[in-house]
Amino acid sequence: MITAQALYIGFFGLASVWFGIVVFRTFSMVRSALALLFSQTALGAMFLSMQAEFLGVLQIMMMATEMSIMAIFMVMFMMDPGGLGKMDMTHQKRLSLVAGIVSFVAAVAVAVFVDWGPVASVAPDAEQQVVDLGLELLGRSMLIFETAGITILTAMIAATAVAIPPVKRNPLKGTANHEH
């Protein structure tokens, strides 16, 4: 039986996949970045239809900022951000294809073979979910999340440090200068 919920999930799932395809079908870097954003937003909407309200809203919120930042970097560093030269967005096709298939199979394998425990007949209401999530984050999963948080922070600091240009970056220049 097809319920409204299943319809929504299907719809947003397809939308997500479609926007994912658009990422590579467009020539414009900015469109590409925002297509990725809407793909992720559709994913968030899928969570919402699955009654995972907090997760959905969080996904929708976080992705907007992240993808916008990506867009700005695209425009800053790409020579042709408007896609006027009709540059192909795909490269390293074989590698990507292999990587894509492998990760898809892995994800499916995880979904199928992991023991997810007993299926809840009714999802707890959204308020209860928030409470449960909070307790979970400060309980069993605390270490995982704190580790992840610290790792991300470290990565951010490291990335900033790396971004500061080194004094000498061109090896050729160095040799040549030495010579003269």
Partner: protein, 670 residues
Amino acid sequence: MIIGARPGKPSKLRRLIAAAMARDLTTFIIPGPEIVRSYGLDIDATGLKPVASPRHASVLLVAGVTSSALRDAAAVIYAQMMRPRALFALGAGELSPLPPADVIAGLSQQGLIQGVRQLRDAFAEGAFRPDVSDFDAPILHVRIEYTCPMHPEVVQNAPGACPKCGMNLVPREVQADSEYLHTAQHKAGSSTDIPLTPRPGQSDHHGINHDAAVEYTCPMHPEVIQSEPGSCPKCGMYLVPRDAQVESSHDHHDHAHSQEHEHHKMDHDAAIEYTCPMHPEVIQSEPGSCPKCGMNLEPRKTQDIQTHEHADMDSATDHGSMDHSGMDHGDMVFMSMVDVTKDLPRSSDGLPMEWIDAPFGPFFPGLPGGLLLTLTLDGDTVAGSDARPLTDNLDLSQHPPTDSTSFVRQLAGMDPLAPVAYRLLAYRALENAAGLDVPAGTAAARIGAMERERITSHLGWLSLFGQQSGFNWLMQHAASLQLAFLHADVTQAMALKPVMQALIKRLQRTPLLKSRTAGIGRLTADTALRGPVARASGVNNDARSTETACTTLGFTPVSREGGDALARLHVHLDEISHSLVLIEAAGAIELPVLADIGDVSGAGETMVETPRGMARLQLTLERGQVIAAQLETPSTHHITLIDSLTEQQSLGDALMAVGSLDLSPWEVRQ
């Protein structure tokens, strides 16, 4: 009826909308609000709403006689406005290439008020018309040329593929006759879809600023040639630029394919290469001069740097599987942003971005009207600038000789922002040449008039400062004070004193004002500086110090340290206070007519401290006629400072620096 009506049959709904439009007239002011106020026009009082973008304006207001370059720019603005749009000329004379004005009025407040009333009627009745002809002007004509997004040096007249990388060329518009006017890079027609500014990342590719065709090659693998900077797919070394040879750019495709079979077929002819002593990255196989600095290249052996050979040849393992159909850059295998952008010019923030030219002016809100400032933007940072006045340059060569009255009229009409100062300058030079003495009473009255003009001019600048920095209260308050002072006599001026002092006090307490201006546009003390700009840098340079008439009234030059926009703001405020004191001491504000200088011959030289600084005039009289004259004005030097003041500043700071110079494009001598 208005010429720029929106096409459409009048219906009931449209009549209602037209009535609403008549109540809500927005205007774009040419040449600029501060100039229109110096004519004594109070736009605010008529209910016209000034707007910042031509797209949002329904009325184009042209006040005073404008130069042909300004009219061309105005035609572009008119074309950018949305229909229904009306042209309102206030004492504007010749308007072409603009269409005939819908409403014409004299250059007076009376004319303005009546004109606005007529405009409202015209909108209410004729905002929509079924038969509307399109607006067209030569300045709006463009031709399409095609260029490669990656190789800005590739420009063709027909579409096609880039000979260097095979990408599709993209069209861009350039003005049909290659005039410099940047505002007119927009295309036109009546369809009014002309962009306000050229497309970022599209029409103006300054990303790679090579004049000549340059291609990139690997020092180790001469067979690797690509049109992009980047790293060698074989060894990962940085590619070095060299001048492209015509053949090599054609068979680029082959190179990409045959690379793998040519691993060891290298450097047969590269035993000696030539490099620039200053730019080691310049390497060519033939002697010549450096494309960067023009020095002769020096020969050297390639062996010197071959130690890196084959360092990491495997970086191109995936090369074979790469799809060559779309394009075949050697370095597209691993597209490293660091490599792609490493040769781009960097701004102070270190981020290489595509450069775009954006016009600011000649009617940009917040900059002096008539000044065309073109900024090359690197993101939000200014990478380069070009400033030029589009106003007419007054010809002072005097052929044939002019009599003194018309000479004075010419000079007084030159700069709408300082008519009194230049009139006085002409008076003084003529008197000096004729050997006339000025009675003390006249001299004091003249000082009164000069100081009143200084106050109005400084208030106009303050209003512009408020407009640019989004300080609405200051913009409005200074503007209304400017109008109040414009024709004030001594008693009226004294009555305005407390208001003026309150304004100054308020500015001292304004939050964010200091952080907005401190350290911006810093100028070190330099004797070439003039007026408030000089005095803000601690240079005590004021022509009034040398005038006994001034010093007897108690004049002491104002001076501040710092040389930044904040110091200039303070100097302007201090001078307003001091001018009020001088007006009070002078006791009269009058610019008496010039006495008959008679049939004399001689040479005269004089200077006047105009609101913007000292102006100097030399003239030669022959039998009462001016036969030669030479004029030096403060803005002529100040406009040349823009380049260094804006360089590597963020956009807001750069505009603030330009604004703080208090330029008058009208007095710039070209």
